[in-house]
C-alpha cells in the first residue's frame, strides 16, 4: 500500500506548489523601498513649470504619490477612484506626470478632472527610476516621516483603496 501512497503524496504536494505558482503575477515585483525613506525630489510643477515642488515640503503629512501619464491606459480606470477620494478630503494626492508632454498632461487633467493637490512633471523619468517605477500607474503611500509604507503597482481600485490603502492611511495619520 505504502508504495502507492508515497508517490501520490509527493505528486499532490508538487501539484499544489505548481498551482499556487500559476496564480502569481510575475509583473508584480515587490518593491525594496517599502519602509525605506522616499527618495527626495524637486520637480517643476505641471501647470506652472517656473515653480518647483519639493518632496521635502510634505514632512509631517501622510500623502499619496501617484505616477500617471496621459498615454497610460490603466490610469483612465484609476482616475475616477482618485476623483472620488479627492472629494472626501481624507488624504492629499500628489501626481507625477511621468514621461509625458506637458501639454498632453495638462489637457488630460482639464478634460478628465484633476484629483491632485498638485502635479509635477518628470519628463525624462529620472525621479521614476529613483522610485523604482517600471510602469504607470504606480502609487506610493508616504508617512509623516517621509517613509514609503505601501506601493500599489497598477491601477488603484475601489477595493484596494478600501481594504488596503485607507486603513493604512488612518493608522499612519493617528501616529
Amino acid at each position: 500500500m505504502m508504495r502507492y501512497i508515497l508517490p501520490f503524496v509527493v505528486f499532490m504536494v508538487l501539484a499544489v506548489f505548481l498551482f499556487i505558482g500559476l496564480g502569481l503575477n510575475p509583473h508584480e515585483v515587490p518593491s525594496p523601498l517599502i519602509n525605506k525613506p522616499a527618495p527626495a525630489f524637486t520637480l517643476p510643477q505641471l501647470h506652472d513649470p517656473s515653480r518647483q515642488f519639493s518632496s521635502q515640503n510634505m514632512k509631517g503629512q501622510v500623502w499619496l504619490l501617484n505616477y500617471w501619464a496621459s498615454w497610460c491606459a490603466a490610469c483612465k480606470t484609476e482616475h475616477p477612484v482618485f476623483m472620488a477620494l479627492a472629494r472626501q478630503n481624507i488624504v492629499p494626492i500628489y501626481g507625477v506626470d511621468y514621461k509625458d508632454k506637458r501639454e498632453n498632461g495638462q489637457a488630460w487633467l482639464r478634460d478628465g478632472g484633476d484629483p491632485y493637490v498638485l502635479s509635477v512633471s518628470d519628463m525624462d523619468g529620472r525621479t521614476g527610476i529613483d522610485y523604482g517605477v517600471y510602469g504607470v500607474p504606480e502609487t506610493y503611500l508616504i508617512d509623516k516621516e517621509g517613509v514609503i509604507r505601501y506601493k500599489q503597482i497598477g491601477a488603484v481600485t475601489q477595493q484596494i483603496l478600501q481594504e488596503k490603502i485607507l486603513p493604512l492611511v488612518a493608522e499612519l495619520q493617528a501616529k
Partner: protein, 156 residues
Amino acid sequence: MKNLLILLFCLLPGFSYAGEAIDMADDPVLEKRMIGLAENLRCLVCQNESLASSRSELAEDLRREVREQMQKGLTDQEIIDYLVSRYGDFVLFDPPVKSYTLLLWYGPFALLLAGLAGLVFQLSKRNNKVSEARLSAEDEQRAAAMLNPPEDSPKD
C-alpha cells in the same frame, strides 16, 4: 482617379516609422562596459529580456542612468547596488544567495542526496532478501552435466 490612387499607394511607405535610433555614449569603451553590465540585468517591462537588448523606454532610461553613473566614476558593483535598492533582486538574472533563496540554490543538491540515500537504502534492503540457495548433490551432478556436455554430443 486610378492614377491618383496609384500615386497615393506609392506614398504609403512614407508613413512607416522605424523608431528613433538608440542613443550611444560617445565613448565606445564605456558603452561596451555598460552593455556588459546591462546583459546581466533584467528589463522590468519585458521581463525575460536583458537591459542590454530591450528596446523598451524604461530600459533606455536605465541604460542612460548606468552610463551616467559610469561617467561619474562609480564601480559596477555600486551601480548594481543602486539598481537593486530601487528595483529589488529581481533586476539580477543571477539571484544572490540569501535566506529565502537557499532552497533555490541548494534544493537540487538536497534532492540529489535524498535520492542517493533512498537508492542506498533500497539496495541494502534487497541485499538482505537474497539468500544463497544450496544444491543437493544430485542437482549438482545434473547441473555439471548440463554445463559441461560430453565431447561426442551431436552438434547442430
